[in-house]
Amino acid sequence: MLAVENLRVVYHDVISVLNGISISLEKGELLVIIGANGAGKTTLLRTVAGMIDFYDGEIIEGDITLDGLSIKGVDTVGIMKHHGLTYVMEDRPVFWYLTIDENLRAAAFSGRGRNVKADMEKAYQYFPPLRGLAKKKAGYASGGEQQMLAIAMALMTQPGILLLDEPSLGLAPLITEGLFAIIKRLNESGISVMLVEQNASAALEIGSRGYVMELGRIVLEGKASELAANKDVREFYLGSGEKARRSYRDAKRYKRRKRWL
């Protein structure tokens, strides 16, 4: 349903971040995108969500289509309202000085004539710990609670497609596990999810399909289980290569990496 075709994005007219990237997201899928820092994952999500202008970036080539319609150049609010695509930015994008309750209401701003109360009830059902914090300022909530809130806020926009940018950032492994279980449940309820992650093992565990990004290109694509078993992915992203022979192969590692590009 969502297709990115040969996308090239440049920041400040000079820094090329996405160099001809093509991905697709099928309906009901939980797509995982992994890659190192600086691979362009966040830029990809920003571009799809129509926020690249805000960061002074520009699409110089390629197209983004949703159900065959181009959404290139449509602003974030338009994409959210008319195409049901919601982007949860990285680093827990909650409003610190608003209460949890107000945060949820603020996220419901764009939806007219919706039953905000019912939506909030639904969001609280997915994230029960938030209910007790409703009157507390979000800035004082813990990292895990803030990330839950961020996703709960995204639910308030009634998304069909959810773009999640590193929800596990700065969270303890146990919290991440719980959060990913909820993401999986959301996906099973019919929301297509595009999950960008550094925590490759946890993400590939819940994902159905995945891409590996490097320097603004897709270097590998496949079923999540296949990627998790892939030797290169294991070595570079899962950190579980054959350690014994590691030192001997360090020289070759660079070479193999180069072949990907």
Binding site: T76, V77, Y87, E102, A106, A107, F109, M153
Partner: protein, 318 residues
């Protein structure tokens, strides 16, 4: 009988003392009251700067010029076109809001996502530009400005509060609370507060940050016009009235740049400071000291509390 004489003298001096004490009290109350009334108008100016600052992180230095523009727009409807006050006021404020919206669209919107310093400097340029335009259109002379509001002056014994300052205080306070209600009790207000915190986050959750900025600038322009009309009502309106807008700077800096309650407190503090200095220090020969006193107070406050008295204590996660 020297002793008796001494006694009666003592009684007389006690009486004098009581009288002069009463006089002192009256002076003080009069000064405080007048200070608070003017201060409320300053608070409103401060509030307008604070909401713009919170939403776009730009300090609006053109507040004085916005004020004069709003006052002249009202002047046109009320004095030139002779509409009744209750029709001229909403029309004037709507025109002021529209002017604010146009200015925002032309100067601030292209800078969204850029440095707030750039926007602040734009407002400095705007101040000169608007002042020059107003002088071209209306000339530099004064226009007499008298609203003929119902007389509500309070004359309680020694105390006397004139009708105009009372109206100014009431209107300013009323506007202040309407803005507060809008910000804290409505859906739009919530969206404004969210956008104030972070434009990117707000956009990502479907709040049109551009629209919000437009609304904030328009609302702020209309509220500044209320303050302008009330201040013009004290005397006359001319393009030089914009000087009063400078008073808003100590107000917001004393109260805290991002605090709405701070704007209210800061305005009242500046008003009282001015009025006390006018009553007690200027008669000692320091003519005009009233004009500088708020800035001296500002320096002291900022030295002790750099964020202002009520500036937000940043939430720090440790």
């Amino acid at each position: 009988m020297p002793e008796v004489q001494a006694d009666s003298e003592g009684a007389v001096s006690t009486l004098n003392l009581k009288q002069s004490c009463g006089q002192l009290m009256t002076d003080l109350l009069q000064a405080l009251g007048s200070g608070i009334l003017v201060g409320l108008v300053y608070s409103l100016l401060g509030l307008c700067i604070v909401i713009v600052y919170k939403a776009s992180e730009a300090f609006n230095f053109a507040v004085g010029e916005f004020m004069v523009t709003g006052s002249f727009l009202f002047y046109i409807f009320f004095f030139d076109l002779q509409f009744p006050f209750l029709i001229a006021l909403p029309l004037g404020l709507a025109a002021a809001a529209a002017a604010g919206a146009v200015i925002e669209t032309l100067t601030i919107r292209p800078l969204i996502g850029r440095s707030p310093i750039a926007m602040t400097i734009i407002t400095l340029g705007l101040a000169f530009f608007i002042r020059a335009c107003l002088q071209l259109i209306f000339g530099s002379h004064s226009y007499s400005f008298f609203l003929e509001l119902p007389d509500i002056s309070i004359d309680a014994g020694e105390l006397l509060f004139l009708s105009d300052p009372l109206w100014a205080g009431i209107m300013a306070l009323l506007t202040f609370f309407i803005v507060m209600f809008f910000l804290f009790r409505t859906k739009w207000g919530l969206a404004i507060r969210a956008t104030s915190e972070n434009q990117a986050k707000a956009m990502a959750f479907g709040i049109n940050a551009k629209m919000i900025l437009l609304v904030v600038w328009a609302a702020s322009s209309a509220c500044i016009a209320v303050a302008g009309i009330m201040i013009s009502n004290f005397g006359a309106l001319s393009t030089m009235s914009s000087i009063v807008g400078l008073r808003a700077i100590p107000v917001v800096l004393i109260g805290g740049m991002d605090s709405i309650g701070g704007a209210l407190a800061g305005g009242i503090i500046v008003g009282i400071c001015e009025s006390l200095v006018g009553t007690y220090i200027e008669p000692l020969g320091f003519t005009g000291f009233k004009e500088v006193a708020p800035y001296i107070l500002l320096l002291i406050v900022v030295l002790i509390r750099p964020y202002g008295l009520f500036g937000t204590v940043r939430i720090e996660r440790v």
